[in-house]
C-alpha cells in the first residue's frame, strides 16, 4: 500500500461496519491518523488498536450517532486539531426490510437519517474546514439500490439516492476549493447487512470494495461502482423503460 505523501487524517463514520473496517486497515497501512466513529465504543476501541498494529500513526475511537447531530461537532473539532489534510469516509447506513417499513412507516425517518441526512449534516459542518485548508477527500458510500427505486427496498434506495445527489453537489462545491468527493456505489457486499438476505449474487468481499475505494481516492475518480461490473448492470437497469420496469420485480 502506498504511503501517504503528507500528514493525513481520516474520519471514518460508521466504522463498525465490515466495509469501513477493511477501508480503515488500508488507510492505516498508509500511516495516516484515524478517527473511527460510531456507536459501539468497545468495538471502535478494538478497531482503533487494530489500525495502530497495521501502521496507523494514531487511531482514536469517537462517539458518532447519525441520528444525534450533537455528536458531530466534537469529532470535527478533534479532526481540525490535526495538521495536514483532513479526509472523511462515510460508511453509515441502515437497511430495514421493506416489509418492516410497510408494517411501520415511521421507520422511514430513521432510514433517511442514517443513510442521508445524518451524514449530509456532518459533511455540511465539515465542508468549510476542507475549503479553508484547500484540500481533503470525502468518500460517500451509497448503493446501487439508489440508482432506481425497486419494489424490494425503495425506501433504502431513495435515501441512498438522496445522499448521492448531495455528494454530487458537494463535489461541485469542494472541487473549486481544492477538495474532492468520491461517490461509491457498491453492489452486493458480504457484510452483516446481507448475511441472511436471499437472492444475493456476485457478492464481493469487503476487502475488495475497500481497495477499489482507495484506488478511486488516489486516482480522484468521481463516481465508482464496485466491483466494476455493477456499472454495466445498473446501466441496463436504469435504461429499462418505466412502463416495463414498473411491472418487474428485481
Amino acid at each position: 500500500m502506498s504511503k501517504a505523501s503528507q500528514n493525513e487524517t481520516w474520519i471514518i463514520l460508521g466504522a463498525t461496519s465490515s466495509m469501513a473496517r477493511a477501508f480503515a486497515r488500508d488507510v492505516a497501512a498508509r500511516g495516516a491518523t484515524l478517527l473511527v466513529c460510531g456507536r459501539d465504543m468497545d468495538d471502535l476501541a478494538s478497531t482503533a488498536q487494530d489500525c495502530l498494529a497495521r501502521g496507523a500513526k494514531m487511531a482514536e475511537p469517537c462517539a458518532f450517532d447519525a441520528r444525534d447531530t450533537s455528536s458531530f461537532a466534537p469529532i470535527i473539532e478533534r479532526a481540525t486539531s490535526e495538521d495536514g489534510v483532513i479526509n472523511c469516509a462515510v460508511f453509515v447506513g441502515s437497511m430495514p426490510t421493506q416489509d418492516a417499513i410497510d408494517a411501520e412507516p415511521d421507520l422511514i425517518n430513521g432510514t433517511v437519517q442514517d443513510n442521508f441526512t445524518g451524514p449530509a449534516t456532518f459533511l455540511q459542518m465539515l465542508a468549510p474546514e476542507l475549503e479553508s485548508r484547500g484540500s481533503g477527500t470525502v468518500v460517500g458510500v451509497g448503493s446501487v439500490a439508489g440508482d432506481r427505486g425497486r419494489i424490494g427496498n425503495y425506501v433504502y434506495g431513495s435515501a441512498k439516492s438522496g445522499f448521492a445527489t448531495y455528494l454530487s453537489g458537494l463535489r461541485n462545491r469542494l472541487t473549486r476549493a481544492g477538495g474532492h468527493v468520491v461517490t461509491v456505489k457498491p453492489g452486493f457486499v458480504d457484510t452483516a447487512m446481507t448475511w441472511d438476505v436471499e437472492g444475493m449474487f456476485l457478492v464481493a468481499a469487503p476487502e475488495k470494495v475497500a481497495s477499489d475505494i482507495m484506488k478511486a481516492v488516489t486516482k480522484k475518480k468521481n463516481v465508482i461502482y464496485t466491483p466494476f461490473f455493477w456499472r454495466y448492470i445498473m446501466l441496463i437497469i436504469r435504461h429499462i423503460p418505466e412502463f416495463i420496469f414498473k411491472k418487474m420485480s428485481i
Partner: protein, 455 residues
C-alpha cells in the same frame, strides 16, 4: 444477529455438511449469541476432515472477529481476536521485528484454530507447539466469559488442542518471538532414501526443517525427497507476487498415478544434486501452498483426505512399512511431508510427541479409505497417533489409547460443556468425549421388543 443455512466442507472437500451459521462482527454480538445457546465455533475451516463441521446444527463463523486488540512492544505479547489468520499476524509484525513463534503450513489458519488444534510448525523441534506460547485465553462458555492462563491447570490444557469443546475462544494473548527481519534463507538438498532422511534430520541445526517425500518412490529410492532448511534473516521484503487460483475442479486424471510419478520426479530433480540456497519473503517458505488459492480443487470434485501421524523416534520401521504400502498403492499425491518433531505440546489432546510425523494426501476414491485406515492402525501399533486436524476417516475404536491424557480431557470438557453442545462431527465420529449418552429409556424399547417377540 441472524442465522443462515450454509453448505460447508472441510479443506479436503471429502466431507460436506449443511447447518445454520451466524457470523458475528463484534465482540458483543458474539457474547449475545452464545448467551442464548452455546454452539461450536470454527475459523477458516482449514482442517481437512470434519473437525470444523457440525451437521444439521448451528455453529459460529469467527472470521470477522479478526483484530489485533493490543500489542506490547517491550514484551512482544500481542492480544488478538480469535478469527485473525496467523499469516496476517506474521505479515503485520515481521517488519517490526516480531513473528508468531509457531506457524502451521497455511497462513489462513486462525488463531482460534491454531489453539484448538495446538498446531505445530517446521520449527517444532526448537520451540514446541503453538499453545506453549499462548499466555491467556478469553473463553466464552454460554453466558459466562472466563479468562484463563496456563496457571489454570485443567481447563487450559483442555482448551489448547481441545477441538473447541471447552467453549468458544474469543481472543488470546500470544508471546511473539523476536526476529531479525522478514526474509528467509532457504536451503534445499536432495535426500536419496529414508535412512538418509533420518540422518539428515539428526544433523540439521536449522530452526525450520521439513522434508518433502516422493511417496511414489520404491525399492532403493523408498523415502527419497528434498530436505528444506530455513532461517529468518534481515533484509527488505521485495514484495510478494500475486496469488493464483484454481478456478474449477480438476479432472480425475490430473492426479493419476503416472502424472504424480512424473511430477515427483521433476520436483526431486528441480533441486540440483549439489543442493541450493535462496532468499525468500518470510511467508513463502512458511506457506508455500497459500500462493495458489483453492488448490484443494486440484483433487477434483470428490476431494481428498490427508493422513497424518506421528510415531516415536524408534519406530522407523513402521514408517518404512507405511511408505511401502503407500507407494505400492499408487494412490499417493505429490503432497507428502516428513518431519522430526520434538516433545513440545500444551494440551491433553495435543498431537505432537517426540518422533517422526508423516503426512500424505490421498484423493478420495477407491481403496484410499482402506489404506488410510490401515496406516492408522500401523501408527497406533507403533505407539503413535493421528492428527485430528487432518483426519476424516478413522473409526472410534482405531484411536483408542492414542491419546494417553484423553480421560483428563474428557473430565474437564464434561465440566465445561455438560450438555455436549459443542460437539463437532469429528468429536462424534471418534466418540472423543465418550460414547454418546444412552437413549433416555432403553429398557422401555427393549421390553417393547421383547413383548413383540413373545406375542
Amino acid at each position: 444477529m441472524s442465522w443462515k443455512t450454509v453448505d460447508t466442507t472441510g479443506w479436503g472437500r471429502a466431507h460436506c455438511t449443511s447447518g445454520e451459521v451466524a457470523r458475528p462482527e463484534r465482540a458483543l454480538q458474539l457474547k449475545r449469541l452464545l448467551a442464548t445457546a452455546p454452539v461450536p465455533a470454527f475459523g477458516m475451516r482449514r482442517s481437512y476432515g470434519d473437525a470444523a463441521l457440525t451437521s444439521d446444527a448451528r455453529s459460529l463463523d469467527m472470521t470477522r472477529l479478526d483484530r489485533v486488540l493490543s500489542f506490547d512492544d517491550t514484551s512482544g505479547v500481542v492480544h488478538v481476536e480469535a478469527g485473525l489468520p496467523i499469516g496476517d499476524l506474521g505479515r503485520m509484525f515481521a517488519a517490526k521485528g516480531w513473528i508468531p513463534p509457531v506457524m502451521p503450513g497455511t497462513g489462513f489458519a486462525t488463531i482460534g484454530g491454531c489453539i484448538a488444534n495446538d498446531v505445530h510448525g517446521k520449527n517444532h523441534h526448537v520451540v514446541g507447539s503453538f499453545g506453549q506460547h499462548v499466555t491467556e485465553i478469553t473463553l466464552i462458555q454460554g453466558d459466562k466469559t472466563r479468562v484463563i492462563t496456563p496457571k489454570d491447570a485443567g481447563i487450559f490444557q483442555a482448551t489448547v488442542g481441545g477441538l473447541g469443546q471447552t467453549g468458544v475462544i474469543a481472543s488470546a494473548k500470544i508471546q511473539m518471538a523476536p526476529c531479525k527481519g522478514d526474509l528467509m534463507v532457504l536451503t534445499e538438498r536432495r535426500i536419496d532414501n529414508l535412512d538418509e532422511f533420518f540422518v539428515a534430520f539428526d544433523d540439521s541445526s536449522a530452526d525450520y526443517t521439513v522434508g518433502w517425500i516422493d511417496a511414489t518412490a520404491k525399492g532403493a529410492n523408498l523415502g527419497r525427497g528434498v530436505l528444506e532448511e530455513s532461517e529468518i534473516t534481515s533484509g527488505v521484503n521485495p514484495g510478494s507476487g500475486k496469488s493464483k487460483s484454481v478456478p474449477f475442479n480438476a479432472p480425475r486424471w490430473a492426479l493419476s498415478a503416472p502424472i504424480v510419478r512424473l511430477f515427483n520426479e521433476m520436483y526431486f530433480r528441480r533441486v540440483p544434486a549439489s543442493g541450493r540456497t535462496s532468499v525468500k519473503p518470510i511467508t513463502d517458505p512458511f506457506f508455500p501452498l497459500d500462493a495458489i488459492h483453492n488448490w484443494n480443487r486440484l483433487y477434483g470434485k470428490n476431494g481428498f483426505n490427508q493422513f497424518q501421524c506421528v510415531v516415536p523416534l524408534e519406530a522407523t520401521n513402521c514408517l518404512r512399512i507405511m511408505l511401502e504400502r503407500i507407494s505400492a498403492s499408487g494412490l499417493a499425491s505429490p503432497l507428502a511431508v516428513l518431519k522430526k518433531m520434538g516433545a513440545g505440546r500444551a494440551g491433553y489432546m495435543s498431537f505432537p510427541m517426540e518422533g517422526y510425523t508423516l503426512a500424505v494426501d490421498f484423493p478420495n476414491r477407491g481403496s484410499a479409505e482402506y489404506l488410510v485406515r490401515e496406516l492408522t492402525d500401523l501408527a497406533r501399533e507403533a505407539g503413535g497417533r493421528i492428527y485430528f486436524a487432518k483426519d476424516g476417516l478413522a473409526q472410534a475404536k482405531q484411536i483408542a489409547g492414542m491419546y494417553p491424557e484423553q480421560k483428563a480431557w474428557q473430565q474437564e470438557v464434561a465440566k465445561a460443556d455438560p450438555e455436549r453442545a459443542m460437539e463437532t462431527d469429528l468429536v462424534r465420529r471418534l466418540q472423543l468425549r465418550g460414547a454418546p449418552a444412552a437413549p433416555k429409556f432403553p429398557e422401555t424399547s427393549l421390553s417393547a421388543k421383547d413383548q413383540g417377540e413373545s406375542a
